[in-house]
């Protein structure tokens, strides 16, 4: 037992370096998913029929294919087919991000729709263009409402990021398996790996909850 603890203490810095990679991976993916997700949500609600159709098709695809299949499909398939020489990390960010966009768009879509049409109408009635209305009136409210759902997406993508192990991104799990195959202390090593994920999940959720409280619209405090 004591031996295991000492071993963990010794390999912890190595594993924590992996968590920096994981954080980078999900920050990139969530950011990419955020931008594309908002664009798709807005297009689905306010956009023209064809564009909204394209968005639906996109969501249908990325929600329907398992993450590992997506990763292989893009990294070993598409990217090499078009001669795109991406690092495993970049490919991981792209695939996780494109997939997250599909889910995030549905979070934002729900939030925007929950505002009702009155906010848009009032914004247009004072002469705002559709873009200004979305930018100044709709999104500031919709994003606030989206935080709980988005927190869920954060947790999901954090855990899904471990599958990038399969294409060789040197994140937490990859490092843990390196050690485990060397010293055969599988249980303590993978347990440490699990604890790091739990801390990251919990910490992120906590931060997002603080953010949610901080930006809450006055008059809606409970």
């Amino acid at each position: 037992m004591m031996k295991d603890l000492i071993m963990i203490y010794q390999v912890l810095p190595y594993l924590l370096k992996g968590s920096v990679v994981t954080i980078g991976l999900i920050a990139g993916a969530l950011g990419l998913g955020f931008v594309i997700g908002i664009l798709m949500a807005v297009e689905q609600i306010y956009g023209s029929k064809p564009i909204s159709k394209i968005a639906s098709l996109y969501i249908w695809f990325f929600r329907g294919v398992p993450i590992l299949v997506l990763l292989f499909l893009f990294y070993f398939g598409l990217f090499s087919l078009i001669n795109l020489n991406l690092s495993a990390f970049t490919a991981g960010v792209l695939v996780l991000g494109l997939r997250s966009a599909a889910y995030q768009s549905q979070i934002f879509r729900g939030s925007i729709q929950s505002l009702g049409s009155g906010q848009m109408q009032a914004a247009r009635s004072i002469g705002m263009s559709r873009f200004k209305a979305i930018w100044y009136i709709i999104l500031p409210q919709a994003l606030r409402i989206s935080i709980p759902g988005w927190s869920n997406e954060y947790a999901t993508i954090l855990k899904d990021s471990a599958v990038t192990y399969a294409i060789g991104v040197v994140e937490i799990l990859t490092r843990a398996s390196f050690i485990a195959t060397k010293n055969f202390k599988t249980m303590p090593v993978y347990l440490t790996c699990a604890v790091i994920f739990i801390i990251l999940t919990y910490g992120g959720a906590k931060l997002l909850h603080l953010l949610e409280k901080r930006v809450r619209i006055h008059g809606y405090e409970d």
Binding site: Q119, A122, S125, I126, I137, I217, G219
Partner: protein, 270 residues
């Protein structure tokens, strides 16, 4: 050909008439197979308060929305101050900034303070600098009696206060006219008075207003003219005294009788 030229001259003459700020001509609107508006034409003169009354589902709100093009009419034309605003070439955002609109359920921007609700049109639509915009917004909030509520958020205000902020939001843009879509219908009876008072003052100050309302007391005492609408057409239009005491059509009388019985003349629910 001769006819056409003559007609065009008539239109020109009419449009030059400085007194007419709003003219709607032959407005049609369908929602699917439901015909909501079936050829509505009317005019509003500068400084006039016109009240539109009629049973629910008659198309009164749709009519207001067809004027500022929040809904585009299927057919018909609208002129604002001599400019045809149903022309697809006009900058509708610019036009809308000169037509105020007050909604039944206020539609204040929930994430903004009262001050920001009023100010945002000036800063983001008119591009006015913040300091000047703040000054003007404060003035309008004081005008509707809410000088002490500038930093409150909509959810912290009563319905009556919210509606007054929304009137200030319309006023600050210095509109050519304000459309009111049942401005007191969502209010508790004891809050109706404060909103009507603001509207009465506006009418006195010469603001041009087109009001859809069930407030018969307001219609009777403030309106220069009353329009009675039913089933997507204007049944009758005239001075309030005439409409209320001796309507031309039986249907107008029946409706007025019913509404006064229900709400009373003061507008407060019995």
């Amino acid at each position: 050909m001769v006819m056409k030229t003559k007609k065009r001259r008539d239109v020109k003459k009419m449009l030059k008439d400085k007194d007419i700020i709003l003219k709607a001509e032959d407005i049609y609107k369908n929602y699917g197979r439901l015909e909501v508006l079936k050829g509505i034409s009317f005019e509003v003169k500068r400084g006039e308060t016109k009240v539109v009354i009629g049973p629910s589902g008659t198309g009164k709100s749709t009519l207001l929305r067809c004027i500022n093009q929040l809904t585009s009419p299927d057919k018909g034309r609208v002129w604002l101050d001599g400019v045809e605003i149903t022309d697809p070439r006009v900058d509708i955002n610019k036009i809308r900034s000169s037509i105020g609109m007050v909604f039944q359920d206020f539609n204040l921007f929930a994430h903004l303070t009262a001050l920001d609700n009023v100010r945002i049109g000036l800063t983001k639509v008119k591009g006015m600098e913040k300091q000047k915009a703040t000054e003007l917004a404060m003035q309008e909030l004081q005008r509707v009696g809410l000088g002490d509520k500038v930093s409150s958020y909509p959810a912290q205000l009563s319905g009556g206060q919210q509606q007054r902020v929304s009137i200030a939001r319309a006023l600050v843009m210095n509109p050519k006219l304000i459309l009111f879509d049942e401005p007191t219908s969502a209010l508790d009876p004891e809050l109706i008075g404060e909103v009507l008072e603001v509207m009465i003052n506006l009418a006195k100050e010469g603001m041009t207003m087109l009001v859809v309302s069930h407030e018969m007391g307001f219609a009777r005492s403030v309106a220069n003219e009353v329009i009675f609408m039913e089933h997507g057409v204007i049944v009758e239009e005239g001075l309030p005294q005439q409409l209320f005491t001796k309507p031309k059509y039986k249907r107008t009388g029946e409706f007025l009788h019913k509404i006064i019985e229900l709400y009373g003349e003061s507008g407060e629910r019995k």
